[in-house]
Symmetry: C2
Subunit: 582 residues, 2 copies
């Protein structure tokens, strides 16, 4: 072991650390807990781990460092910590942009930590022109500069490269995909990707800076396909011909394009700088997004065409971005357990942790995954979109004006989102309402309203009907049955569970006790129940920022056991019993 | 070691061989020298190693064999030799199509043997439909059937697959690229590729059956770009703007498309069954083929944009074939030593053999590679297209009517190709003529005609002028100087060479002694000089049929030293001396 005999004073951090003679500066800093941005893996080609020498000396400046000093107009005291070795005592300062702050926003506690390693990276090219004695091809010059033996160009990019790479003084970047394919050559100090939560009802886009790992902005909007039905099945039915299939694809792609355009415009980002899209959706939405037929999902044996797509060209499906931008579809687990659930499982770290967990995603359908040690069982219920407010008299998504909470203090009280005038009731509101009605003897266990009027008025034009209750009973029963069968098949009872993770926007306003009261969620201590928010989006962003996670997850997904609830022998009986509230 | 106690009688081959108990039948046959077609590597998925049991028994029929028996209407005595084990004495017959005859035509002696392993392969899919309990996706069904863990689809192919893979009884094939990417699903018992020798003057297409490795047909035609100049430089000059660059690309791509169409039509092959194009051309032709700018090749330091392209989409450059067809560009060595030379080196096995060799390709330019042990030095002369008959009063390619041989028996005699009426003189004719004139005192060493008339008439409108002689002197001097400098730089003299390999169609009619007489070829014993014919095409076919050769060659090419003749200090002096004939 090297003796750590030198003292490094970090003037920017009011901190003193030790380093060995000839120790790589970045190694010493990392050891001291400073998360240096080693985007290129310490090869000296990304220029993102810069430090500034305040006093003292480092090993001689390398060629790559000289390139950065020249093209980025850094002074000679600016050095790359991955290239410079410690040779004596030193005072340095570290600019904030040279540190990776956690990839996660502070509000995202609980999402696993992972190394920032996007599929798309940008590297400055130090251009050394060819000579008569050594007439290197442009491809060879790039390889040499990027210190990569095998990078690949397509002709279009090579042609562009030849017009850019002429002048040594210009800061030209190569954008690489999976450190192998050159996606573009140009002025790309920063590159961007989109995490797309492709919900049946709502689509959420997150624009991510792939250099820092930080989210720039997000946008949520209605999936335009909803005009052909709120639920998955009506869309599958609509997509009965290749033309209608194409129509549904175009509809969603064009809407994503519009929203992408307006987001990047707002932040002054060029379309060319968008290099990847990660798509997390359920199986049917993923198929429709790619323009693939969905008929096999509509009738027995209900099978999908694919699990995942990677390295797909964005332009081949009409998505706007850089002409060479790529698409990754988060792997579907099975017919009705899609990529959104894979994202969710990844986000809540079910794939890593030990123990027994239940993961429930109450989106348009209710997907449930049970983990028992290393064994996963996944299944999909036919809950339908009731918890998203669909097919209910006054149902709504959690939009301003939606009644999100209901309680009783002698009288039924409620709260709306943003305090706006009540315009409808969202999923959490309905669950509260059923619980409140039961507690006050206005609703029996069979779901029969005991009031004289057969509807409960909350506000002007906002009410609950007996039919709404039936719809909610069916949805809840589907989920309860699913949970029951998964537990039964794994020889577990609810009390054996270490935790229940609930994904989906729905969870945000949910009153757990009320959900337990109507029997939707197993009756565990509240401390074991975790609302995880939009886990589909969280997981999707994780795949965008750490591409090696993709292979691991694909492999894990292929081992998940899929259980078809409808063909389970105990299904009918359990379902009928589950219709009872509580 | 297993005792070989069983006797196998091969009724089709009138031969008896020995096999061990439970020995894989294909192993026993291969050991006995029968080149069974193990296209899929013995995984039982290609069905190309069928044998028929005449008497006796083998191990029980496997699932894959049953699939083949069903969909190909084979009787139950038809077995796959890679799936069946020997369990006793046996009589079998082997149909001819189950044997790989040598990949090479008999006329192609000297080309290295290599295992048939094309990048594009076709496999029968044994379709087992999904079930309710196990609703496998179409992708999973294909993986299972092909016994591949990671194969990749693009949406278009997946959509097509879903319409084909419905009926168990149909023989549906998956066409795989590099055993990973599914290029198509459909009725592809055979798949095809094209080896393309992209000459500056002549383009040769060879249509190859990728299942048997056999050439179906070939076609040669004039490169349509010749209308913008016979030599490379005039085309580079023409391609001065992006529009003209594109025009040159379109011109050659469209002509290749037309010739491909007419060839496959003639042999009843669908365009969809063409899955790969291997392109072997010089650096400038390769750039123009891809529509890439060539200006950097035209002025100092004369550098290229790229060396190789692989996995390129054929449709992206406008080539017709299957929509997913790929293109491979044989790697260029350096600016003026192109992929045609790489092909040539591969075809003459210079990359494998020990010893000291000189490889000369006298196409439009004269490229020369010297091998000394493991060290290669490559260089390009500025010979121009004189040996292809260009820029000479009566010069012509070796077409019918071309004077290919000239001798003297008191009078100048000649022979034309196909015995047609003389229409011009081709390269070998000019070399003969110069030698004959020198021998008979009609031409001095300085290239001055000593006849009274300043032109030599051979036939009506077919003659040689003093200007033609100057042109030939310059071309020969360029080649001689190149050879001299390469030898000098490697501290070798001609007598140290083990062999001289001459590539290019030009060699076919060449009289070696005459070529030595004028000093074009080093004065070695004739037994050391080998005409290799169109080595660019030979090597190109080799890359088409054995894709793993590509990586090996790319690596070898990157180690070749390039010597710029013009900037060599001894060039001027040597060139002037080399102008002397003899």
């Amino acid at each position: 072991m090297v003796k750590k005999k030198h003292t490094l004073t970090l003037t920017s951090h009011k901190k003193t650390i030790k380093a060995g003679y000839q120790e790589r500066l970045s190694d010493a800093l990392l050891r001291a807990g400073l998360p240096m941005n080693l985007f290129c893996g310490g090869r000296g080609v990304c220029g993102k781990c810069r430090v500034r020498v305040v006093e003292g000396r480092l090993s001689p400046t390398t060629e790559n460092e000289k390139t950065f000093q020249a093209v980025k107009h850094w002074d000679t005291r600016s050095r790359l910590s991955c290239q410079a070795n410690v040779t004596g005592d030193l005072k340095i300062s570290i600019p904030p942009e040279s540190l990776v702050s956690s990839v996660l926003d502070p509000g995202r506690a609980g999402i696993p930590e992972f190394p920032l390693n996007p599929a798309v990276k940008t590297y400055l090219i130090s251009f050394h022109p060819p000579t008569l004695a050594s007439p290197l091809s442009l491809e060879e010059i790039c390889k040499k500069s990027l210190r990569k033996k095998s990078i690949r160009f397509v002709p279009d990019v090579l042609g562009k490269a030849s017009s850019h790479l002429k002048d040594e003084a210009e800061a030209v970047y190569a954008v690489l995909y999976k450190d192998r394919h050159v996606l573009d050559i140009g002025f790309y100090e920063t590159v961007y990707g989109f995490a797309v939560d492709l919900g049946t009802t709502t689509i959420v886009l997150e624009l991510v800076d792939l250099v820092t790992g930080k989210t720039v902005a997000a946008d949520a909007f209605l999936n335009p396909q909803t005009r052909y039905g709120a639920d998955v099945l009506s869309r599958i039915t609509y997509a009965s011909s290749p033309e209608k299939n194409k129509e549904l694809q175009d509809m969603v792609i064009q809407e994503v394009n519009r929203k992408v355009s307006s987001l990047i415009k707002k932040y002054g980002i060029r379309q060319e700088a968008v290099f990847e899209f990660c798509i997390s959706g359920n199986t049917a939405m993923n198929h429709l997004f790619l323009g693939l037929p969905v008929q096999t999902l509509a009738s027995a044996p209900y099978h999908a065409l694919f699990s995942t797509m990677s390295d797909l060209s964005a332009s081949s499906i009409g998505l706007n971005g850089n002409p060479q931008a790529r698409v990754y579809i988060v792997p579907n687990i099975k017919s009705f357990v899609g990529g959104d659930i894979t994202s969710g499982l990844t986000a809540v770290e079910l794939l890593k942790e030990k123990g027994r967990f239940l993961f429930i995603d109450l989106g348009t359908n209710g997907e449930i995954v049970l983990k028992k040690g290393v064994r996963f069982t996944a299944s999909s219920t036919a809950a339908g979109p009731a918890f998203e407010g669909m097919n209910l008299s006054c149902g709504t998504l959690a939009v301003p004006g939606a009644i999100t909470k209901i309680w009783h203090d002698g009288k039924i009280r409620f709260e709306t989102l943003d305090g706006k005038k009540p315009s409808g009731i969202c999923g959490s509101g309905y669950i509260d309402l059923l619980a409140v009605l039961m507690e006050n003897g206005l609703l029996d266990k069979d779901g029969k309203l005991l009031t004289e009027s057969k509807r409960i008025e909350l506000a002007e034009k906002v009410f609950l009907t007996q039919k709404d209750i039936r719809e909610l009973q069916l949805a809840a029963a589907a989920v309860k049955t699913g949970i029951g069968i998964l537990l039964y098949e794994n020889r577990l009872s609810p009390k054996d569970l270490d935790a229940v993770h609930i994904g989906g926007a729905f969870g945000s306003y949910l009153n757990i006790r009320n959900a337990q009261k109507i029997g939707l969620i197993p009756g565990l201590p509240i401390s074991k129940i975790h609302f995880r928010g939009n886990t589909s989006l969280e997981g999707c962003r994780l795949f965008l920022l750490s591409y090696k996670t993709r292979n691991k997850v694909s492999e894990a997904v292929s081992r998940i056991r899929y259980l078809s609830l409808a063909s389970h022998e105990g299904f009918q009986d359990r379902f009928i019993r589950a219709l009872e509230l509580g």
